[in-house]
């Protein structure tokens, strides 16, 4: 019965014009496997990792670049900047830079990019996530000097502008583009829907000429297949593979991905409105047991919702011990005081929130059950999950232990504190007037004072209020093929600078 194989090959040969396989023909070309393909390659959407990891700092660049290790900002397309007034910033632009379409990089291009991003006809994430509410405007001082003005004082404007990718004035306003034109070391070549995106090196780049001359991006949602592609040499780098596929320490490298997982507790709903019950939950989950089993052993225990690369991260908080006996004791105390600790609590997860997240919630639910909680586990699909995550919360909801994952890769706690903990935050369960005041005040501060106030915010949430159950700062595994010499960092959560790839 083996007649069909050669026939199949013959049939398909006539049906599909064989394309040249990119594999290892070109010594300086690379193939990169992503977990998901892009939907649009618009410069104003670079904060979304499906887009950013292809074009950010490769095709399109930003005025300012974030330095994650030192929690600070570096110049990129801007040479320098200064705050001339509380609501005014002046940026000096790099000279002699041209876009891939030949137009010069100047103040006009910056203004065009900002206007395009702020256009309400588009829902650019750079606007909706970062610039919304600042009312930032740009005006030309001279060809290479731009003045930014904001409605209120924004001490972290450079951090915000690190999200704004600058594109050529020929990028149309009011519609998304699939052909980004930037100033970066790589030109966009083509995008075949569902198959690949190809970038090629730009010879007119203003900086150092990178080693890699062509990058082909493909995507595979199955981690095992992505890992296999690198192993067989079909690809050189798999962006993210599951911990169980990362079995080769030579090629599989770990990096923090700026995601922090935690259980949010509905602090208003009995029995979770009793702080002893919330503490008991924290004590009952054996976080350490997950590390090295279903969560990577390189992940770190979390005490707050932001990671160490974020300004405002509080390094002094101590992890909860695993102490089921004390948890039981707290529950018994609460019960003695008339708290209905036997009420069914709903634990809510979401499939594929992170690698093995289904297994994680199943195990966590068991841990809570074993100290005496009554847990009903529900895994919700993204849209239903979002409905529960966001306000308005349902009036008659059950007490819930709600698994969320927050990624703050902007480098500043402002993007977390308000949204997650202020009374008016969209995903906040809290309404504590003192905390609200502190969060608002921290947002207006700069430098050390800012860090100090955010530290206090996170301490109160963690130690005094016990608003949630922080779990882990997550990591990703990147499989780097033997041809490449590359060590991923936290920056790779949102971008992958091809210029940093070296060959062995």
């Amino acid at each position: 019965m083996n007649f069909w194989k050669p026939m199949l090959v013959a049939v398909s040969a006539t049906l599909i014009a064989p394309l040249t396989s990119a594999k290892a023909e070109d010594a300086t070309a690379v193939t990169i496997v992503l977990p998901a393909g892009p939907d649009r390659l618009d410069p104003c959407e670079t904060p979304r990792s499906v887009i950013g990891r292809i074009i950010k700092q490769n095709v399109v660049e930003t005025l300012v670049e974030l330095d994650y290790t030192n929690r600070t900002t570096l110049p990129r397309l801007a040479e320098s900047w200064e705050q001339t007034a509380p609501t005014e910033w002046v940026f000096k632009l790099r000279q002699g830079v041209t876009f891939h379409d030949g137009t010069p990089f100047d103040a006009k291009a910056v203004i065009h990019s900002l206007e395009r991003t702020n256009d309400p006809a588009l829902t650019c994430i750079t606007r909706t996530k970062y610039l919304d509410g600042t009312d930032v405007k740009a005006t030309e001082i001279d060809a290479h000097t731009v003045k930014f003005t904001t409605k209120t004082a924004v001490p972290i404007l450079p951090t915000l502008l690190a999200q704004l990718a600058i594109s050529s004035v020929n990028t149309p306003k009011g519609e998304y583009t699939a052909t980004p034109i930037g100033t970066g070391p790589y030109k966009f070549d083509h995008w075949t829907q569902g198959e690949n995106v190809v970038l090629i090196r730009s010879d007119a780049y203003w900086g150092n000429k990178p080693l890699i001359d062509k990058a082909t991006y493909v995507w595979r949602s199955e981690s095992s297949v992505a890992a296999a592609m690198v192993e067989t040499g079909e690809a050189d780098l798999a962006f993210s593979i599951a911990p169980q596929d990362a079995i080769n320490p030579e090629t599989d490298k770990v990096y923090p991905n700026s995601d922090s997982a935690l259980f949010r507790l509905s602090v208003d709903i009995p029995p979770l409105n009793d702080v002893r019950v919330r503490k008991a939950i924290n004590l009952a989950i054996d976080r350490q047991a997950f590390l090295g089993s279903i969560i990577s052993d390189k992940a770190e225990l979390a005490m707050q919702q932001v990671g160490p690369s974020v300004l405002g991260f509080n390094a002094n908080l101590k992890p909860w011990p695993y102490d089921p006996e004390q948890a039981k004791a707290l529950l018994a105390q609460a019960k003695a005081d008339g708290v209905d600790v036997d009420r069914e609590i709903r634990m809510i997860g979401r499939p594929a929130m992170f690698a093995n997240s289904n297994e994680f919630v199943e195990a966590a639910a068991e841990m809570l059950r074993s100290v005496g909680f009554t847990i009903k586990l529900d895994n919700l699909e993204m849209s239903q999950w979002l409905k529960m995550a966001n306000k308005p919360f349902a009036e008659d909801r059950q007490p819930n232990v709600f698994l969320t994952m927050h990624d703050n890769n902007s480098g500043d706690a402002a993007f977390t504190a308000f949204f997650k903990y202020h009374s008016n935050g969209r995903q906040s369960e809290l309404h504590d007037a003192d905390l609200d005041a502190l969060i608002v005040d921290a947002g207006t501060q700069a430098g050390a004072k800012r860090a100090e106030e955010y530290n206090e915010v996170f301490r109160r949430i963690y130690e005094d209020i016990v608003a949630d159950v922080p779990l882990f700062h997550m990591v990703n595994y990147m499989r780097v093929g033997k041809r490449l010499d590359f060590t991923p960092t936290i920056a790779n959560a949102v971008e992958l600078q091809l210029a940093k790839l070296k060959l062995n």
């Binding site: 049906l15 394309l19 592609m229 067989t232 079909e234 979002l386 995903q427």
Partner: protein, 305 residues
């Protein structure tokens, strides 16, 4: 014959309309896309703007009217995820799936008719037992399991086939083999059963008893009679290839319509869901019309009616 096809096509338009209404309202019942396309901390203003621009604030019947009006002008709307016309997105993905199906189905039919018939000729024989056993394994193995094991064995361990993707004909071997698995398994069973019925039916027995013709002629007669249920099941399997394609396209990174559909539901990209369902439905209707014609050709007693 010509009038039959015409009449049948008219009736299919009815099915299409039913289907379109079904898809439109079912898809919208899955919830609003706003939260999926905007950052979780997007302000209320931004969310309203988004819904307003895309018309999600209008009552459903207004949205449906707009959709139907567009449909009459062959306009299926914009894809939310790709911000391109939905038809374009779908038509770009469709050929891959169609090619997969066009390679898979003939191979399935050939393999299953030959195997099933041979098995039916000597029920209980060694070949029959073996064919049944293997085909049942085929019909009951999850295809994603086979796909991933296939990659691990043929691409990683043996290094004879590429892991995934498109490009060379070799890239199609694993996907097609995985896609063939279930239809072949099922059809071998169906062919075997109906051939056995046909072979044991009165007139074949009579023919055999009378010693008419060779074994081959008897066989062909039986095949012709046993083919009706085979055609029915085969058409169902052909229509179901889209299902298999979802899995195959997901594992092997094939840019086909199956994965596109599922992704579009996840992302509430209504325009693409509608366009994709419409395009696959058209293909299925064509298959069904062909099937009805084949019924009549195989069994002259069935008239076009």
């Amino acid at each position: 014959m010509g009038s039959f096809i015409f009449k049948r096509s008219l009736q299919s338009v009815f099915s299409l309309v039913v289907l379109i209404i079904l898809v439109f309202f079912l898809a919208r019942m899955t919830g609003s896309p706003a939260d999926l396309y905007l950052p979780q901390d997007a302000s209320l203003e931004v969310r309203n703007q988004f819904n307003e621009q895309l018309g999600f604030n209008d009552p459903l019947y207004v949205q449906f009217g707009r959709f139907f009006w567009g449909l009459l002008h062959f306009d299926m709307g914009q894809s939310l995820q790709f911000s391109r016309p939905a038809v374009e997105v779908v038509l770009q993905a469709f050929p891959t799936t169609l090619t997969l199906a066009a390679i898979t189905m003939p191979l399935v039919l050939l393999l299953s008719i030959v195997t099933g018939s041979l098995a039916a000729f000597r029920p209980g024989g060694v070949f029959d037992r073996l064919a049944s056993f293997i085909s049942l394994i085929g019909a009951s193995t999850p295809n994603f399991w086979v796909a991933i094991v296939g990659v691990l064995v043929f691409a990683v361990t043996l290094r004879v086939l590429p892991t995934s993707g498109t490009g060379t004909p070799l890239h199609w071997v694993l996907p097609v083999a995985v896609l063939m698995l279930r239809p072949t398994g099922v059809l071998v069973q169906v062919v075997r059963t109906s051939m056995m019925t046909a072979l044991s039916s009165a007139y074949i027995k009579t023919a055999r008893a009378k010693g008419v013709g060779s074994r081959a002629i008897v066989f062909v007669h039986a095949l012709r009679n046993g083919l009706l249920p085979v055609i029915t099941v085969a058409s169902d399997q052909a229509a179901g290839i889209v299902n298999g394609a979802v899995i195959v396209e997901t594992v092997f990174g094939f840019p086909g319509i199956g994965k596109l559909m599922i992704d579009s539901v996840m992302l509430r990209d209504f325009a693409v869901i509608q366009a994709a369902v419409l395009v696959t439905a058209l293909a299925v209707f064509i298959i069904n019309i062909i099937v009805d014609i084949t019924y009549a050709l195989v069994d002259p007693r069935i008239r076009y009616s």
